[in-house]
């Protein structure tokens, strides 16, 4: 069996959560072989990360080079391609960095590439069987991947549970010397912080969140009206921002804000993993969608199969009636 490596993303001297999840993926590929961590970067932060990884990984390959101080995928790809042994299996978190790094890396390594893996079903000879999702999570697919010349597998963050294991007592192996000088035709300039909007959805306890199902810009008033009745704020998913109907600062998801409300009412949101990645703290999740097969119903606490454009105004009226005559409907006491 080929040697398995886990690419470790890190920031400010701390390894990404995926560093604890990738060993669980590796053990599904080859239970007999502990994976090797591979980390790129520069300076004290990198040393700190490598040290902390020694409790999870028995071996940590460290590539310290000044141009790698910022994780520019164009440079990291060159570095990894020069140190990874032929035929290796590399696990990478499937996020904005993994999407940037891995397809090209697989070509450079002459390895197979499987993006956004959510499950490993096993290995038979040269074939690795994995599961992924298509159509924004509406349907899943099994794929068979030829690992004879190695593979780069991008793993969906959060899809594998971090394994509890005894301290690995690992050692750090310095691999910097195997990487030649790095220069990129894509040069990192700066990072621009997220826009600050009129409402800070990260601080709101109750969110009425709208997705593609809102249909058109005029309908946003329906959600705003319900939010006003409930004392909530309006947030949204990506398609609403793409259409320029709401400000980017209102977007919940991996490329938007991470929110921690008590109650989240998802209206016309299908429930892609990118959207759900922005929803933390286990809120009471209400999903309203006219498609009973929408993936959001798999994760919601309560589901309502209805047309949000008709349901929301009716709900807003009921909330207002309720606040005028509390308990009129004989509900639970607050």
């Amino acid at each position: 069996m080929a040697r398995i490596f886990a690419y470790i993303a890190h920031k400010g001297g701390v390894a990404d959560d995926s560093a604890a999840e990738l060993p669980a993926v590796a053990s599904k590929i080859d239970p007999a072989q502990p994976p090797t961590a591979i980390v790129t970067g520069w300076g004290a932060g990198l040393d700190q990360v490598c040290e902390s990884l020694c409790s999870t990984y028995s071996e940590v390959w460290k590539i310290a080079q000044e141009p790698l101080a910022y994780p520019n995928a164009e440079l990291v790809r060159t570095a990894l391609a020069s140190v990874l042994p032929a035929g290796s299996i590399l696990l990478v978190p499937h996020n904005h960095f993994g999407v940037d790094l891995s397809p090209g890396l697989a070509i450079n390594l002459d390895a197979a590439y499987v993006p956004d893996v959510v499950e490993i079903e096993g290995v038979e000879g040269r074939w690795l069987k994995a599961a992924r999702q298509e159509f924004g999570g509406l349907i899943s697919a099994h794929v068979r991947c030829d690992i004879l010349t190695g593979a780069v597998l991008n793993i969906r963050p959060g899809a594998f549970r971090a394994a509890e294991s005894a301290p690995a007592g690992g050692r750090v192996v310095d691999k910097a010397a195997e990487v030649g000088p790095l220069s990129a035709r894509r040069r990192y300039v700066e990072t621009i912080a997220a826009e600050v909007g009129d409402v800070d959805i990260t601080k709101e306890p109750v969110l009425v969140s709208i997705g593609r199902g809102i249909g058109e810009q005029e309908n946003i008033a329906i959600a705003e009206d319900l939010a006003e009745a409930m004392g909530a704020a309006v947030s949204c998913s990506r398609p609403v921002v793409d259409a320029k109907w709401m400000d980017k600062s209102r977007q919940v998801g991996s490329s938007g804000k991470t929110v921690r409300p008590k109650v989240y009412v998802a209206c016309g949101i299908s429930g892609s993993f990118q959207h759900l990645a922005g929803l933390k703290g286990n809120p009471f999740l209400v999903a309203i969608n006219k498609n009973p097969k929408a993936p959001i119903f798999r994760v919601a606490d309560v589901g309502i199969v209805d047309d949000m454009l008709e349901f929301l105004p009716a709900l807003a009226n009921a909330v207002r009636e309720e606040s005028v005559i509390p308990g009129k409907r004989g509900g639970a006491h607050d």
Partner: protein, 263 residues
């Protein structure tokens, strides 16, 4: 600037229910409505806007069959000057690497300063752009949300990263960029626009034109093969509130009150 945009025809999820066929081998494709992959429209729009500032041409290309011509015509109706269909039975069931190899050979036969793709297509793989860049040995950036032409050899781009933040990079031309949705507002294409390009001949390239790619394209060269589709396990699953709309609202109000949803 000469810009190539790689596009794909996909089932339109806003028009179809995506479900498993009886055998579980594929999605139910009878009566499926197809459209151009939505992110590809953003890529074509971005190409058109760049060309309107710098001059040059936009070419759209896809790998597929006769039926895929319709998405090329749609992008021509948006304003793309040229379209090319890469089509041969030998290319069927290529994996991402096979598709990238076909585009690579096509690119090397022409001259393009900039190659764009949509961020991802129906299969969510987001892979062909990055693979194509590696095969061509061009620089690459994914999830691009802004492009500024600095000079004839350099672009300044923004990439979308986590938490609503953006990364700014300088990137040398020629390069490959995958375009994130929301970068622009793709122009509307009406029936009239489609009719105007309905009879424009679209050149086709087949196996003899792209002979080198035959080592990568097609079913037998695929290293990654989808074996079947399945419906994912339900997980904990939502409690679906049943009854009339009034009954559902009554139940929901009670729950919202208990959970602190009414303030």
């Amino acid at each position: 600037m000469e810009i190539l945009v790689c596009v794909k025809r996909v089932p339109d999820t806003s028009e179809n229910e995506i479900q498993l066929n009886a055998a579980g081998t594929d999605i139910e494709r009878d009566d499926l409505v197809y459209a151009v992959n939505e992110p590809d429209n953003y890529a074509v729009e971005e190409a058109l806007q760049i060309v309107s500032r710098t001059g040059g041409n936009v070419t759209v290309v896809t790998v597929g069959g006769e039926e895929d011509e319709e998405v090329l015509r749609r992008e021509m109706a948006m304003g793309a000057q040229h379209a090319v269909l890469i089509s041969d039975d030998a290319f069927r069931e290529s994996d991402g690497r096979g598709i990238a190899a076909l585009f690579k050979e096509f690119v090397e036969a022409g001259h393009y300063d900039l190659i764009l793709t949509g961020v991802q297509a129906d299969d969510g793989c987001a892979q062909v752009g990055g693979m194509l860049a590696a095969m061509l040995d061009y620089p690459f950036a994914s999830l691009v949300t802004a492009i500024e032409v600095v000079d004839s050899g350099t672009l300044k781009i923004a990439r979308e990263i986590e938490g609503g933040c953006k990364e700014i990079h300088a990137i040398d031309l020629p390069c490959v960029l995958s375009i994130q949705t929301g970068i622009n507002e793709p122009r509307y294409v009406g029936m009239r626009g489609i009719r105007q390009v309905a009879s424009v001949p679209i050149p086709q390239l087949s196996a003899p034109d792209l002979a080198l790619a035959l080592a990568f394209a097609g079913k037998n060269n695929a290293r990654v093969v989808r074996t079947d589709y399945f419906v994912p396990p339900a997980g904990k699953g939502a409690e679906i509130l049943a009854g009339s709309r009034e009954e559902v609202i009554e139940k929901l109000l009670d729950l919202l009150k208990t959970k602190g949803g009414l303030n």
